[in-house]
Structure formats: C-alpha cells, structure tokens
C-alpha cells in the first residue's frame, strides 16, 4: 500500500467515525431541536466523506452527490423538520422508551456487534476504505434502534433519516459511489418519503392533539 492509499484509508475511517459520532450524540440529546441539529452535522460530515472518497478515487460524480447531499440533508430537510416541530409544538422532549444511559450502551453494543459481523468482509476486502464499513453498518443499526426506541413521530423520522445516512455511507465506502442516476433516485425517494411522513405527522397531530405514536394503538377500537 502506498502513502496515498494509507492517507485515504485513515481519512475515510476518520470521516466514517465522525458520521457515527453524531449518530451517538443524537442518542444523548433530549430535545427535538437538538436531534435536528445532530442530524444536520451528521449529514455535513457524510457529505465531506463523500467528497473525500471522490477526491481519492478520482470519481468526480461524487462531488455532485456531495453537493446534493448538502442542499438536501443539511439545508432543506432539517429546515422542514424545524418548521414541523415548531408547528406541532407540544412537549419538546423526545421521551424515549429506553432511558438515555441504556440506549448509549445499546448503541455501543450494536457497533461492537457490527464489527463482529463485518469482520469476514473487512478481512477479504482490499479497499482502502474497508475499515469504515463496520462503522457504517453500526450507524444503520443505530438508526433502526432510534426508530424502535423513540416515542415521538418526529424522532422516528430522524431515526429513518439516520438509517438512510448509514446506507449511503456504506454504499460510498463499499463501492466508491453507486452510479449518479441511482443516487439521484435514492435522494428523490428520501425526499418523497420524508414529505409523506411529514403529512402523516400533521394527520396524527390533528387526530390526537399529540405526535406520540402510542396513541395510534387506539385506532383499532
């Protein structure tokens, strides 16, 4: 491995651990506005990692993807999320089912688990970016954990977005970027999914005067 590859490997791992770090920071925070802020920083770190991979692998399409990422996930979606919680109002606390210390330890275990399950993959891989793969898988698991452990519809949306960031990171690390057209399709999907969820949140709010998804279980009566 030459010096350039070594530097690439170190920086790619550094970028992935930053993305993961913001995922863990999100678990520590309580208020919805802090969730949105953590998500915004995470998306920025993700965009930087994309640009970095694009630079070292000479795949210039990734620059475009990074720019779209900044516009969509750092500016547009967090902006909408902020407006959403300002309008829905109510109690701003995220009220998790699992308390914060436990969820942090669960997150630590999930990342350790993803190190264990991706170990064969990392060992056979020759990519300089391979050390980031367990971190990306860990972020996906943390996203799922946020979805199942948080009570408010809004924090579940953020969990979904974190999960999506994890998948994007995994794709970038594993393949140096999927074709641009596929990437654009994914972005459109995320935006559409997000808009649909946003409408759903307003509906939940109208019906129950709260965005606590607990109330949805009353619908079957």
């Amino acid at each position: 491995m030459n010096v350039n590859d070594m530097l690439f490997a170190q920086l790619a791992t550094l970028g992935s651990s930053l993305v993961l770090l913001f995922g863990i920071a999100l678990l520590w925070r309580r208020s919805l506005s802090a969730y949105v802020r953590a998500f915004r920083w995470q998306s920025l770190a993700l965009a930087l990692t994309f640009a970095l991979i694009g630079y070292f692998s000479h795949n210039h399409e990734l620059y475009i993807v990074a720019i779209i990422l900044v516009v969509l996930k750092v500016i547009i979606i967090p902006g909408y999320l902020t407006r959403l919680y300002e309008r829905v109002g109510g109690r701003r606390e995220a009220q998790p089912y699992v308390n914060i210390v436990t969820s942090l330890i669960v997150a630590g275990l999930l990342v350790s688990l993803s190190y264990a399950i991706t170990r064969p993959l990392v060992m056979v891989s020759k990519l300089p970016t391979r050390n980031g793969i367990p971190l990306a898988v860990g972020l996906i698991l943390i996203g799922i954990f946020v979805i199942i452990s948080r009570r408010k519809a809004l924090s579940q949306i953020i969990g979904f977005l974190v999960l999506e960031n994890g998948i994007a990171l995994l794709a970038a690390l594993g393949t140096y970027g999927i074709p641009l057209i596929v990437e654009l399709g994914v972005f459109l999907d995320v935006l559409m999914g997000f808009l649909v969820m946003q409408i759903l949140v307003y509906q939940i709010k109208d019906t129950f005067e709260s965005i606590d998804v607990e109330h949805l279980s009353q619908l079957k009566h």
């Binding site: 920086l11 791992t13 330890i105 630590g108």
Partner: protein, 253 residues
C-alpha cells in the same frame, strides 16, 4: 476517628505526586516506567478520591456526606472510562506502559488520526472535565452552594490541610491535561535526556497545556452546569466512546 481526617490530606497529596512521577510529562521512556503502568496510575488516583470521600464523611456534617456521595457517583463511572480510553491506545502500542505508548505513537505518527485514537481522546476529555471538577459536572468557583461536589468534601478543612488538598487538585488537573496532550499528541516529548531535548519538551508541554486550558475556558464560558442526574448520562457517552475506541483498535489492528 480524628486521625483519618488529619491523615487523608497527606495521603491524597502523596498519591497525586506519585501519579505525577508515572506520567510522561516531558520525557517518554521514564526510569519510573518499570514501577507502574496505566492501571497503577488510575488506581492511585482512585485511592486519593476514596480517601477524600472518607475525609468528607468523617466530620459528620451534612455537606461532607453529600459531597462524598456525589463524588463516588461520578468516580464510579469515570475511573473505568479513563482506564478503557487509555487501553484503546495500549492495544495499539502493545503495552500498558504510559511511556511506551507515547514512544510508540511518536514512531508511528499516522496512528494519530485513526478512529480508536480520536474516540479515546473525546472520551478522556469528557472524563477529565468530570474528574477534575470542571464546569459541566462541578463548578470549581462555587463555595457553600448546594451543587458543589469537590468543595463540599473539603469544606471542613483549613490551614495546611486545605492547602494540601487544593494543591493535589491542581496537580490532578495538570496530570490529566498532560495525559491528554502527551498520549494523543506526543510531539515535542523528549526521547533522550539531553538538555536541548528537555528544553524543547518543556516548551512544547507549556504550549499544549495552554491550548487545552484555553479550550476548557472557552467551553466553560459556553455551557451551564448539568443537572446532577444528567451527569451519569454524560459519563455514559464517554464510556461508550471509550468502549468503541478499544473495539476499533482491537479489531482493526
């Protein structure tokens, strides 16, 4: 037990001085390295904390007991995190000896930006704030307030006993800052015991400590003290970071 109250300050000061001897402050492979490694450092510090808590309980005042119980709550999570964060580095260096870790990092400078190293730094930084009684956990400037931790235990002391305790607290801050500076950014540490190298090492240490002090001062002006029940959550964050640091340096070796 009057003797305990009088004896504790000497012990607290002695353990802290002993820790200073084992920490790579200016030169990396120290003659004392054979005496103790990172576990000795961590548990000597815990011994000092333990006796400070006992001394807080001993006079039987309300404040002392409160401070002691809080200090133990913090220390119970903080001490394993220190050990774990440094273990992350020890796994990479192949030795639990602090001097060896510094020497190893100096010979492999690329290791400084690997994730184990960075996560370990973040974890140790949070723990440093908690252990030395800095702002999000304890406020060193408060006296006679219901939120104090360290001050509450030292409340009944005066004269030379108080001086020893305060001196030990200052030394502890120095030890933690220089651990942060020299374990994670070891440049400037002298590897030979020549006057020139030592002079550079002293200047480098002062610059690093000043930078860390500035960073802590900036943080302290930006944030408020955490509610006591949020403190274990903050320390939980640093524990998880330290755990991930060990995991990644162990599995990515």
């Amino acid at each position: 037990m009057v003797w305990l109250f009088r004896f504790a300050p000497y012990l607290i000061f002695a353990t802290t001085v002993a820790v200073t001897m084992l920490t790579p402050l200016v030169a990396a492979p120290l003659p004392f390295d054979a005496v103790g490694d990172l576990l000795t450092v961590v548990y000597l510090m815990l011994l000092g904390t333990f006796f400070l808590a006992l001394a807080g309980l001993d006079p039987g005042t309300a404040f002392g007991g409160m401070g002691a119980s809080r200090e133990m709550t913090v220390a119970a999570i903080a001490e394993p995190t220190i050990a774990l964060a440094i273990f992350g580095l020890a796994v990479g260096a192949g030795s639990t000896n602090l001097g060896q870790i510094v020497a190893q990092t100096l010979s492999h400078p690329g290791a400084v930006i690997n994730p184990g190293h960075l996560l370990g730094f973040a974890a140790l930084f949070i723990v440093t704030l908690a252990e030395t009684g800095r702002l999000p956990v304890d406020n060193p400037a408060t006296h006679l307030e219901l939120t104090m931790i360290h001050e509450a235990m030292a409340l009944e002391y005066s004269g030379r006993y108080l001086a020893l305790i305060e001196w030990a607290a200052g030394l502890k801050l120095l030890v933690f800052f220089s651990l942060l500076a020299n374990l994670f950014l070891p440049w400037g540490v002298a590897t030979t015991l020549t006057p020139g190298a030592l002079a550079i090492a002293v200047i480098a240490l002062i610059v690093k400590l000043a930078a860390l002090g500035l960073a802590v001062a900036l943080i302290e002006t930006r944030i408020a003290k955490l509610r006591l029940f949020r403190v274990p959550e903050l320390l939980g964050v640093s524990f998880v970071l330290a755990l991930l640091s060990v995991t990644s340096s162990f599995l990515l070796r």
